[in-house]
């Protein structure tokens, strides 16, 4: 099992390095080394995952050797493009001389969370219902039966819970199990990878965009937020994984807003594809992002053409990822036991109006009255939001917050419907979904507020 995990990690690293080597140094000149490391970790998981998923959708059997083969290809590509790859690490694009020394409390708190995440993911089996009954089952089926086309998922008589939920994470989990059979530790390696991609991205963002006390505040808000660390084990890995992809997409989207570079658009596309193939919340976020990219492209002045071109490329790439899975899903025969989640969703909203205040309170209490999940980060985020929203620069960041808000509205709408259909018992699943949007909301609030301060400072200097 150790060998399978090691092989998986090497393959992931090689693929991530190949992706980084494909991006020119000039495109990532203002990107810190921590973010480049996040590129390696995140791309090393998302790129092979999406490629293998496409292969499965067109009928190839699942085999961990696909992952290793992609890893070998990545290694060869990195060797051929070693100059470009090394350039990212050797040339310094950013200076961090003004960074404050981090307070001891931040280091100790973060060390506690990171240690718990590592121990819980490496030593404990997932115990939430969905992880056992849906996602863990899929990993075992993939390892034993090899394909999405097997009778396990296409046979209406076979018990296969939620066969139409997407497959990216089960596939990556199975890839890390390799040929050694199912193991909880191997299954959790992609989760650990995504958590460390989150950490690296937060550190990179703090270094690139913020300075002084604000940098410390941002680091404390994000790295000491318990949910992105503890939810993997507490309530399942899908939503925190979407949270990481959402943060990744928001970061590159904000970069793309400042400077429409192809690399930023490509990284947004990678995150959107990954999110779509994780779960429905990710699909909502991805759809919101695509709409935001389109609106920004239309509304931009001088670089409208290039932005619209990026939007067209993004839409094509997403269609390329979405269509095979949509066809694949359509081929699955419904079982007699299935119930439709979306049945009656569109009708009866006038009847449900009375339920909206309760669900809105659920949402507010989830954000502001659950320090054990988000700490004080939402409170700080709302302060930034209120102070930044009056500034002109906030409008520039508004498109970046749109996907998270759309996803949040979708979550709230689902629970308004559920109050009627399934009753209060299903409300317990409400809290695990907020981790999808919370980190990216805090990032956008911090960015908008900081940009507002910069613009104010520029005005003062000009005066």
């Amino acid at each position: 099992m150790t060998m399978a995990m090691l092989n998986g990690l090497i393959a992931q690293f090689c693929i991530g390095c190949a992706v980084l080597s494909l991006v020119s140094f000039s495109a990532l000149q203002t990107v810190s080394r921590a973010t480049k490391a996040a590129v390696i970790v995140f791309s090393g998981l998302a790129v092979p995952g999406l490629l293998i998923l496409l292969l499965l959708c067109v009928g190839f059997p699942f085999d961990p050797q696909w992952f290793y083969a992609l890893g070998a290809l990545g290694a060869i590509m990195t060797i051929f493009r070693r100059k470009e790859f090394l350039c990212h690490w050797q040339k310094g694009g950013l200076s961090f001389s003004g960074n404050p020394q981090l307070p001891a409390a931040l280091t100790v708190g973060f060390a506690c969370l990171a240690l718990w995440t590592t121990i819980s993911l490496m030593c404990l089996p997932s115990v939430d219902y969905d992880s056992i009954a849906i996602w863990g089952y899929r990993v075992r089926v993939l390892l034993n039966e090899g394909t999405l086309y097997s009778e396990s998922l296409r046979d209406p008589y076979r018990i296969a819970p939620m066969p139409k939920h997407p497959y990216l994470l089960p596939l990556m989990e199975a890839a890390f199990c390799g040929r050694a059979g199912f193991s909880h530790a191997a299954q959790h390696i992609p989760h650990l990878g995504l958590y460390f991609a989150f950490v690296l991205l937060v550190i990179g963002t703090a270094r690139e965009w913020f300075a002084g006390e604000f940098q410390v505040l941002f680091l404390a808000a994000m790295l000491l937020m318990p949910a992105p660390a503890v939810q993997w084990w507490l309530e399942g890995a899908r939503e925190p994984a979407i949270g990481v992809a959402a943060l990744w997409s928001t970061y590159w989207f904000l970069r793309w807003l400042r400077d429409p570079s192809p690399s930023a658009a490509a990284f947004v596309g990678l995150a959107l594809g990954a999110m779509y193939h994780m779960k429905v919340e990710g699909a909502a976020f991805a759809a919101g992002s695509l709409v935001a990219v389109f609106i920004v492209s239309l509304m931009s002045g001088a670089d409208r053409r290039i932005r619209l071109l990026h939007f067209a490329c993004l839409a094509c790439a997403l269609l390329f990822l979405v269509i095979p899975w949509t066809i694949s899903k359509a081929l699955m025969l419904p079982t007699t036991q299935d119930y439709d989640f979306t049945a009656g969703f569109a009708e009866g909203w006038s009847r449900r109006l009375s339920m909206i205040p309760f669900v809105a309170w659920m949402g507010l209490s989830e954000m502001f009255l659950r320090p054990e999940l988000y700490g004080l980060a939402p409170h700080l985020g709302i302060i930034w939001l209120v102070r930044g929203i009056t500034r002109r620069t906030w409008r520039a960041a508004l498109p970046a917050v749109f996907p998270a808000l759309l996803c949040l509205l979708g979550i709230l709408a689902i629970y308004v419907v559920r109050q009627e259909q399934l009753g209060a018992a299903r409300n317990v699943t409400f809290s695990r979904r907020f981790v999808c949007v919370m980190p990216s909301l805090v990032l956008v609030a911090a960015y908008a507020y900081y940009q507002a301060r910069i613009s104010l400072s520029d005005k003062k200097d000009a005066a």
């Binding site: 003004g98 969370l113 404990l124 009954a133 849906i134 008589y157 318990p226 989830e366």
Partner: protein, 246 residues
């Protein structure tokens, strides 16, 4: 760092956050956060207040073990406060002992240090709470508990029953499954017994024409057994029969 960020950075240099004031602000913030933790400990120890705080979040898990893991337990908060005070003491000692050592270029103010300390207090409390849950329940840290033990604790009916079924039939067996208690138990049990493959067995119980056709369909798929599973039965939770005998 972009130029504009440098400007903001310059603006941030207030007298209270000069290098000489840095450690003081941090130490005071750590001490204050520790005090806040102590007050939280006192408040959370009151069951009525704790209950009232828990009820403010209407969708919180009503299940005891999930509740214990997730809400900030008073003892965890107190322990995290103690750690913060220890950090304050260490910072104070460092200031006294290495007062003449070169100072870092930048420093942070009191409000920032307080936010960091409070956020850290919460993070540490959560981790202590989670660990103490395992210590309290299994009397061992999480890294020394086997997966079987954890499943036995979390799924006290379905998991041991799935082990019993595995002993009774081979791994490649295909069976039609009827589970009492609805879809929740059906999906859980069929996942736990995998690689034994489970098929919907609900329609087999009716004795009608549709049952006969369902049996024919299942037999075509190589389904040999019918299992009636009642997780809450204390006598015979697993009733296994050959399909041909029905």
């Amino acid at each position: 760092m972009p130029n504009s960020a440098r400007q903001i950075h310059r603006e941030d240099r207030s007298p209270s956050s000069t290098p000489s004031g840095r450690i003081t602000a941090e130490v005071v913030a750590l001490f204050v956060a520790g005090l806040v933790g102590l007050l939280a400990w006192l408040a959370l120890r009151q069951p009525w207040l704790r209950q009232h705080l828990a009820e403010l979040v209407p969708h919180r898990y009503p299940i005891a073990f999930a509740f214990e893991r997730q809400i900030l337990a008073p003892r965890s908060v107190a322990l995290a406060s103690a750690i913060l005070w220890l950090l304050a003491l260490l910072s104070l000692l460092r200031e006294k002992i290495w007062r003449r050592a070169p100072k870092p270029q930048r420093s942070i103010g009191f409000s920032t240090a307080l936010f960091v300390a409070l956020q850290s207090l919460i993070a540490m409390s959560v981790v202590i709470n989670l660990n103490s849950y395992f210590l309290r329940t299994f009397h061992r840290p999480p890294c020394r508990i086997s997966a079987t033990e954890i499943y036995m604790h979390w799924i006290p009916q379905a998991f041991p029953h799935s082990l019993q079924l595995r002993q009774r039939v081979s791994e490649q067996t295909r069976l039609a499954l009827y589970v009492e208690g609805g879809a929740f138990n059906r999906y859980l049990f069929s996942a736990l017994v995998y690689p034994i493959r489970c098929y919907y067995g609900e329609s087999l119980t009716s004795g009608s024409d549709s049952a006969a056709s369902a049996i024919a369909e299942l037999r075509r798929r190589g389904v040999e057994y019918y299992l009636h599973y009642d997780p809450f039965s204390t006598t015979e939770p697993l009733q296994l029969r050959r399909i041909s005998n029905q």
